[in-house]
Symmetry: C2
Subunit: 328 residues, 2 copies
């Protein structure tokens, strides 16, 4: 296969690119480094089937010669500190960026894959969230630049499907962690790891009773690849199903890195969801997919990456999962 | 004042342009006639202070020489049959169109006014809807092209306000009717009037127990003008406060035009809201605004327009409202 991937220098994009390259496919990566990292591009360049164009996909996609099988749109700031620093760019990559990618797919006769997000559910009033839940999103708040951009991107993807018959996929990615995250990602996983490695207090927002359900990045990549192999156009949740309170998560990170560091409580961020957890019934039944990497194992590998600045050696694939094992 | 108004050939845009022109202001109208009507432009051209540019605001706004006091973004298909026929264009005028208008306002040092919609509330679970209600919107349904475009437009407007300090206004317009509506608008007011004038059965969707709260267009124009005179950046609802069931509304239209026509029940449209009614506390307290034209009076004037194909003579302004009386 030959794929064009926007956001190839991002956390998830770089894992996805590596997965395809190691599977013998050709990847054209595009990134403007607004939140992506040049180091990921440099590592991917070691694969002869990888090429890269530095470009802002909101302003236009590169003129690619030859056929494409997939256009995969993974470009966007994704952590609250990043998208709140660049709200206009975040809105644009959801609208103009998505449409440019859809137009390229249409022009090339390629399939289209949209990386959407659990943030389309906002601060949900239904738990866990099935794909049929319409969400609870503040259209004007400080997070709206991301939430509304992704809801718009889904609506535009469905409009291209309805009007032009484009073969589309939409996933809603829940909290994902792993090696290759930016150290300054600004979300809780890297915050806690950074703080514990530096011997500083772990800052827990609010009373720490809000929960998250984390998935390790290789599980997400496996789900993405499986969805590419089926024909299904409605959104599909991909995320971890074991909720953990932020206070308990702080305990896990401390015990893994430095049990001596204290916990410090700080105010809750604006519009921060109290709880978010996917209903993965669709992914289970449609893809035979469920998360496989435990939080302990995933965190061990993530902490090793942040200690060493490089990826730890991959463990052997679990039995029966060899075909869909992710690249990291 | 000198204003640039997108959607000047639309139902509401043409009333707004006429209001400003009759108040001695200069209006530059922009429309691509996707849903606007050239006849409105021809009528507005009778004012020497009106100029018009036929352009698609999603692709770019005209290069206007000289200063502007306001950029007012009213361009968009607004009735379900129209925006479902043009979902991609509807999404674009909410994103690229809004951003082009914001950029023009920023470049000119002008204020910016966004026409948003009650559809940002979707099929609401809270009644009546205050501006603080986050809404209940299907991001993937057949109406999502309009609902999500307008939510995105609000988010982009707030992003320009936060990042560039733009002086912005946002209104959420609830069902509005009056002369100048397209005969093929496709929503209930013109549907019923057309059917009754033609001696055909009035088609009531579902069981007819879903409600709407209609406002006459001159009330809306009065609210818009008042909001321009205050400094307030959060969204403001403008709409009628008297809910009426669709079955009862059919009775009113029949009694006004042709009591002999029957009612025929047809299936409910997809994602059609069961009930929608504004909480206008903000408009009341901030603007001293409330609807003034009764449904009977407004319908009489609307029916006269559809019978004659021209605007009926305006009634005398109500006492105390002379300063803010709309143009029609």
């Amino acid at each position: 296969m030959r794929l064009l991937l926007t956001g190839s220098a991002g956390f998830i994009g770089s894992h996805l690119a590596a997965h395809f390259l190691e599977g013998g496919h050709e990847v054209i990566g595009v990134d403007n480094y607004l939140s992506g990292q040049p180091a990921h591009t440099e590592r991917l360049r070691q694969h002869p089937s990888f090429s890269f164009v530095q470009a802002d996909v909101s302003l236009g996609l590169p003129d690619v010669a030859g056929a494409l099988d997939w256009v995969m749109h993974f470009a966007s700031p994704a952590s609250p500190p990043h998208y709140q620093q660049f709200p206009i760019e975040t809105l644009m990559v959801g609208a103009q960026g998505t449409q440019n990618a859809l137009e390229l797919a249409r022009h090339k006769g390629a399939r289209f894959f949209l990386a959407s997000t659990s943030e389309v559910y906002g601060d949900p009033l239904v738990h866990p969230q099935p794909e049929s839940y319409w969400g609870h999103v503040n259209p004007n708040g400080v997070r709206s630049c991301y939430d509304e951009a992704k809801r718009y991107a889904e609506a535009m993807t469905m409009a291209y499907r309805r009007m032009h018959g484009l073969d589309t996929r939409i996933i809603r990615i829940f909290n994902t962690y792993g090696p290759h995250m930016r150290a300054d990602d600004g979300r809780v996983v890297t915050n806690f790891i950074n703080q514990a490695l530096a011997g500083e207090a772990l800052t827990v927002q609010g009373d720490g009773q809000q929960t998250r359900s984390f998935q390790y990045v290789s599980d997400l990549i496996r789900g993405i690849v499986r969805l590419m192999d089926v024909t299904y156009h409605d959104p599909v949740n991909l995320g971890g199903t074991e909720p953990i309170t932020m206070l308990r998560f702080a305990e896990v990170v401390r015990s893994l890195i430095n049990p001596g560091v204290p916990v410090r409580f700080v105010p809750l961020a604006a519009d921060d969801p109290r709880q978010r957890q996917p209903d993965i019934t669709v992914a289970r039944t449609l893809l035979g997919w469920a998360p496989e990497v435990s939080l302990d194992e995933g965190l061990r590998r993530t902490v090793a990456y942040f200690r060493q600045g490089t990826l730890p050696a991959a463990p052997p694939p679990p039995a029966g999962a060899a075909l869909h094992q992710s690249a990291d």
